[in-house]
């Protein structure tokens, strides 16, 4: 009887072996899931590198960088990446010119002026804009913004300035301008949200100090709050730029697909992402030079956004204002 009954200390001893095993299995499972995203990134980078190396074995790097035409799919194959970069840079620049004032000013309003009730309504609405699929923005640019900018000017205006026949003279159906404007609108929520976070994080005591010295609200915002939040605002801006550079649907739909070197925003141009879309839509055989071209363009895109992100990371660490 005494032999079969476990002693009291045995009864209360936790089963450590089982619980250790469970912990181990859970750790492995969770770890595996975490590794999926890491492995995906590594896989993408490796694919990019392999195909890009294969590409540069056929097309020397100097041709890629110095040629002034981009016709890799045609018999007169030329590989001047600058053609695509110029289009991407131009569209992104227009986007930032639109998104910076829109985003920053709405951020200042939300953080400094809006009442808590108004803020609780406005912020979700702004974030809703970020949820609009980019293909919708693309068609918005192509079918609404472009025709709007091409509207004929009123007759009385034409009688004063005869050559001013449409709102933006010389604007074509596909153009970098409307793509850039709509791209700017689409990244405004990103700029506004991140800048607002940065502004909101500036401690109350700084503002109180400025008020105590007799500053008005405007003076406080411009002289104290904005400089204090500058690193956050700049990093928001850089993130928005890299988003704009990588954006695909808007530029593919609205900016056109004509590889043309130059910075004229009124005519169709072909951005880097638009080229990748164009080639992927056809049935390009794997291993051909046309197929490798999209990886070379993808690699260029990847390097540009990576450089921007590294710069933003460095900038934030270098200029961050720390408050207790």
């Amino acid at each position: 009887m005494t032999a079969s009954t476990p002693s009291e200390s045995d009864l209360w001893r936790p089963n450590r072996a089982v619980s250790k095993r469970t912990e181990f299995v859970v750790k492995i499972v969770f770890g595996a899931f975490a590794m999926v995203s890491v492995a995906t990134t590594v896989g993408i980078v490796l694919t990019l590198i392999f195909e890009t190396v294969a590409f540069f074995q056929v097309v020397p790097l100097w041709r890629f960088l110095t040629e002034t035409r981009w016709t890799p799919l045609f018999s007169s194959a030329q590989f001047g990446i600058m053609v695509l970069i110029s289009a991407t840079v131009m569209v992104s620049f227009i986007a930032i010119v639109v998104a910076l004032p829109l985003g920053l000013l709405s951020a200042i309003f939300l953080s400094e002026y809006a009442s808590p009730k108004m803020r609780s309504v406005l912020k979700p609405v702004l974030e809703l804009l970020a949820g609009v699929p980019s293909v919708v923005f693309g068609y918005f640019a192509l079918l609404f913004v472009s025709p709007l900018l091409r509207t004929a000017t009123p007759a009385w205006l034409q009688s004063i300035i005869p050559s001013w026949d449409q709102f933006i003279p010389g604007l074509q159906g596909f153009n970098a301008l409307s793509a850039g404007i709509v791209l700017g609108i689409s990244i405004t929520p990103l700029v506004a949200s991140l800048s607002e976070d940065a502004l909101f994080a500036v401690p109350r005591s700084l503002r109180d100090g400025a008020y105590a010295l007799g500053s008005t609200k405007r003076e406080t915002i411009i002289a104290v709050v904005l400089p204090a939040a500058l690193s956050g605002i700049v990093s928001a801006l850089i993130l928005a730029i890299s988003r704009a550079i990588g954006e695909t649907m808007i530029v593919t739909l609205a900016a056109g697909q004509n590889p043309r070197l130059g910075l004229n925003p009124l005519v169709p141009v072909m951005a880097m992402t638009a080229f990748i879309v164009q080639v992927s839509l056809g049935d390009t055989p794997a291993g051909s030079i046309a197929y490798q071209t999209i990886f070379a363009v993808g690699m260029t895109l990847f390097i540009i956004t990576l450089a921007l992100n590294i710069f933003s990371f460095w900038f934030v660490r270098r200029f961050r204002e720390k408050y207790e």
Binding site: S75, Q172, G173, A198, Q257
Partner: protein
């Protein structure tokens, strides 16, 4: 800061997925809808007499240009023969032949005749086929309605515009003809993967698959339509069906091949006077599949004279009756091989070769 961002991303993804699922459910519902209505009204014009006893699968794949015709035919055919399932895929003319010659499909659609390499590939795998024309398409050259100078272009002028050496040099309308205005030339055309591009370059330029590269190239014909609508100085080429769909906002250019200016129209495309840009569309049937009554009936259905209306409904030009009856005889006799012997269909009159 970080949790808010994460939440925002999540919200973005979720809303996108919501949109996707709505779109998916809509298209699903739409599909069922059409099938339902087709089923109730399918009564008339059975090309295959006694079609009710038919059953089985018909696998069709190939050209995206021929797809609208096959799809319309398949819908009507299935409405009349409830036990037959016709599946129509879109792999492009080339992709279609790859599957066809591997024995995976019964019928392969093509917007050009079968090439010699493909004939060889089929022969290697012991696949024999009957070549049958199904419709005509006229490659249409279009300009913006505000263009009041280019009403008719000669073959040579089109060549000047599109040949490889024009790249970077021919950029202005007055370089095409001295009395054209001093205006920048905006060119729009299909990309190099397209059968339309192959045909255009073969018909107009010196060699197939070679043209200038500095134009707006897109595999999506709607992009080209939009381009010319938005560009007063634009010029594009694509299948006649796309012109017909957008005829209010586009203007056709007549083509002069030495015999005067001819505009594409159902008549000029059908009688072969719109040259060199009229092209026949084909389908190829595997001979062993013709032993399957369902495949034979569907093939006959596609070239039945009563079904010419379906071809016209989707924007193509139906073949003349004598060509159709020649095609029917060819199918009946099971004549194998290609009348083009691996070459191009440029300038070939179907009535003569069949």
């Amino acid at each position: 800061m970080a949790p808010t961002i994460r939440f925002k991303r999540l919200a973005g993804i979720l809303s996108f997925m919501a949109v996707l699922s709505i779109a998916a459910s809509c298209s699903g519902g739409g599909g069922q809808d059409t099938a339902g209505t087709e089923g109730t009204e399918g009564t008339s014009t059975a090309a295959s007499s006694g079609g009710s006893g038919l059953a089985g699968d018909v696998l069709v794949d190939g050209s995206s240009t021929v797809f609208p015709i096959s799809e319309a035919m398949a819908e009507e055919f299935m409405a009349e023969n409830a036990d037959v399932r016709v599946t129509v895929g879109v792999s492009g003319s080339g992709g279609g032949f790859q599957k066809f010659c591997a024995g995976e499909t019964d019928i392969s659609n093509a917007s050009r005749p079968i090439k010699q390499e493909e004939i060889d590939l089929c022969a290697e795998n012991g696949i024999e086929f009957v070549e049958i024309p199904i419709a005509f398409d006229g490659l249409s050259v279009v300009v913006n309605p505000e263009n009041d100078w280019a009403q008719c272009l000669t073959v040579d002028e089109l060549k000047t515009m599109w040949e490889p050496s024009a790249e970077g040099t021919i950029t202005n309308w007055n370089q095409i003809r001295p009395d054209f205005p001093d205006a920048e030339l905006g060119l729009y055309g299909p990309g190099t993967d397209s059968g339309t591009y192959d045909y255009f370059t073969a018909a107009l330029l010196d060699s197939e698959g070679e043209s200038r590269g500095d134009y707006t190239a897109s595999e999506d014909d709607n992009v080209l339509v939009q381009g010319v609508i938005g560009d007063t100085n634009g010029l594009a080429f694509f299948g006649y069906a796309y012109y017909e769909e957008n005829q209010d906002s586009l203007q056709l250019v007549a083509i002069d091949n030495g015999n005067g200016c001819v505009e594409p129209s159902p008549e000029t495309i059908g009688d072969g006077s719109y040259q060199p840009l009229s092209r026949p569309e084909f389908f190829y049937v595997k001979t062993t599949s013709l032993d399957n009554p369902a495949v034979r009936a569907f093939a006959e259905y596609q070239i039945a004279i009563e079904n010419k209306g379906l071809v016209e409904e989707v924007g193509y030009v139906a073949l003349p009756d004598e060509v159709l009856s020649a095609a029917q005889e060819r199918l009946e006799a099971g004549t194998t091989g290609s009348v083009f012997e691996g070459g191009s269909a440029v300038g070939v009159k179907l009535a003569d070769v069949l």
